[in-house]
């Protein structure tokens, strides 16, 4: 290696470092996704089941999943509820504040499609009317087991 051209050495070594770092970051992202939750108009059913994920029975923290308070710290945006007109801009702003790469998960039937409120005069529909959605987990409300299943599949996709 030391006898080869120094530029080539530097480049190869730099690439190896970068690949290792990339790998480490990907592993960390996959092993420890930080989640931000936003309710854009839902009844709370899915929200309390999301909160349930943190409590002793389901305890997703042991899987590395942490619930974050700021969009700037989050990898995954968990959306619940249909998107109401008033929430649309806030939802978009939260998404824009999340650093890339970021993923959006629509939790619950309302978030997937508008649910029972589909034709409400103040309802735009599901989250995909406003943001690009990576994973749909339906249910009314969505069960914690289904959420964990959906999140694990998302993490596999990320890898």
């Amino acid at each position: 290696m030391t006898n080869a051209c120094p530029c080539l050495t530097a480049t190869l070594w730099g690439r190896l470092e970068r690949d290792m770092l990339d790998s480490l970051v990907r592993w960390a992202r996959r092993k420890s996704p930080w989640i931000l939750h936003f309710n854009s108009g839902g009844c709370n059913g899915c929200d309390i089941e999301i909160l349930d994920l943190l409590t002793p029975r389901y305890d997703v923290e042991r899987l590395g999943i942490l619930k974050e308070a700021s969009p700037r710290h989050a990898d995954i945006l968990l959306c619940t509820g249909p998107v109401t007109r008033q929430s649309r801009d806030r939802l978009r702003r939260i998404y824009e504040q999340m650093p890339a790469p970021r993923w959006v998960v629509a939790v619950g039937s309302c978030s997937c499609s508008g649910g029972v409120f589909r034709d409400g005069y103040n309802v735009l529909g599901g989250v995909d009317q406003v943001l690009p959605v990576d994973m749909y987990i339906s249910g009314c409300p969505c069960r914690p087991e289904a959420m964990i299943d959906g999140l694990v599949r998302l993490l596999e996709m990320i890898e």
Partner: protein, 360 residues
């Protein structure tokens, strides 16, 4: 001192649901606050006019995920009154059982949320772990942890046998032990008392002026409870205390709700012990004769009012829903005045807000 305006929400760690505040502060003290609702406004009252009475049972169940059963109970009671139906006694008792189980789950949920916002995460974990006992019972009875779909117009669609009844009683005993432990910890925990005593005070006069209902009103000494004052479902046959307190602060509201939870456990035991035999539903016609009804129920957060007008078709001409949280939201500017910014989460959590209910 200069004044500053701080926006809080709609997305904020202190808020479980989207709600927006503009707080005007002088140093650490709040001088004025302005509220902005409507982020969760789905236009449910209009949606109800586009659906028939049966479909609306499922729509009103989703006004709020926490108190879904009392919404369907109050709605079905109203429609049954318009139809002139007499719901069988067994169905009324089962309805009431779910009402009380829901009250327990809602108060434990609130206890956890308040504790978490104050920084007492251990109580949040314990309260929500104990709440799982109630959710399991509701799931075994109805198939759903959160949305139960127990009520139909004319009765209920669930039933239980002696074995299930015994199993529920055993678990309620366990739950009572856990809640007594929780109560003991909270009563003796000095930091909890320091964070909640004197915070978010509402006098009895303020409660009357703003027409506040529920545990928030009872914690300020106003003795109102629809279960006793205007019994519905099976409450006229049951024996229970209405819990009140005098201090009117977050501490008083905590005590009222925890003691109410224990009363609800006693109510569940009475219902299971005295469950009458008989049918679970009566047949309900699809078309409702023209008429009007005002139906009321005591939700975990207080008086829930439904006004329904029928025009003779299978769809209601008007469904008006007034939820209890609306009565407490209006008091927030008063409660937040002269409060330190650090106490804002405790005040917001203390009134048990359910924005989904308020916005509809």
């Amino acid at each position: 001192m200069t004044r500053m305006t701080i926006p809080i929400g709609p997305q904020h760690p202190a808020l479980k649901e989207p709600l927006s505040f503009l707080l005007t502060v002088e140093g650490e003290r709040i001088v004025e606050s302005v509220l902005r609702m409507g982020y969760v406004h789905r236009g449910i009252e209009r949606i109800c006019q586009n659906r028939n009475y049966v479909q609306n049972v499922h729509v009103v169940e989703r006004v709020c995920g926490i108190c879904s059963h009392i919404h369907t109970t109050t709605y079905c009671q109203g429609v049954e009154a318009l139809l002139g139906l007499e719901v069988p006694p067994r169905a009324l008792c089962l309805r009431t059982l779910l009402c009380e189980l829901e009250r327990i789950h809602s108060h434990l949920l609130w206890m956890g949320v308040l504790a978490e916002l104050i920084g007492f995460t251990t109580i949040f974990m314990y309260a929500w772990r104990d709440r799982e006992i109630v959710l399991d019972i509701m799931e075994e009875l109805s198939g759903g942890r959160v949305a139960h779909a127990v009520n139909v117009i004319g009765g209920v669609r669930i039933d239980l046998d002696a074995e299930m009844s015994h199993s529920i009683l055993v678990r309620l005993d366990e739950l009572e032990r856990q809640i007594e432990t929780l109560l003991g910890v909270i009563q003796h925990e000095r930091t909890f008392r320091a964070r909640t005593r004197g915070v978010g005070h509402l006098s009895a006069e303020q409660v009357r002026r703003y027409c506040v209902v529920g545990p928030t009103a009872r914690a300020s000494g106003v003795d109102v409870d629809l279960r006793r004052d205007a019994p519905y479902a099976a409450y006229d046959q049951l024996d229970f205390r209405v819990i009140t307190a005098e201090e009117g602060d977050v501490w008083a509201r905590t005590m009222v709700r925890l003691l109410e939870t224990i009363e609800s456990l006693h109510l569940c035991r009475q219902l299971l012990a005295e469950l009458p035999q008989g049918a679970l539903t009566v047949r309900a016609p699809r078309r409702v004769p023209p008429g009007e009804v005002v139906s009321r129920g005591e939700a975990p957060r207080g008086e829930l009012v439904y006004y329904i007008r029928s025009d003779g078709s299978d769809k209601p001409a008007r469904v008006k829903i007034r939820t209890p949280t609306l009565t407490t939201l209006i008091t927030l500017p008063d409660q937040l005045r002269d409060v330190n910014t650090a106490d804002v989460p405790a005040v917001l959590a203390g009134v048990d807000l359910c924005i989904a209910c308020a916005d509809r």
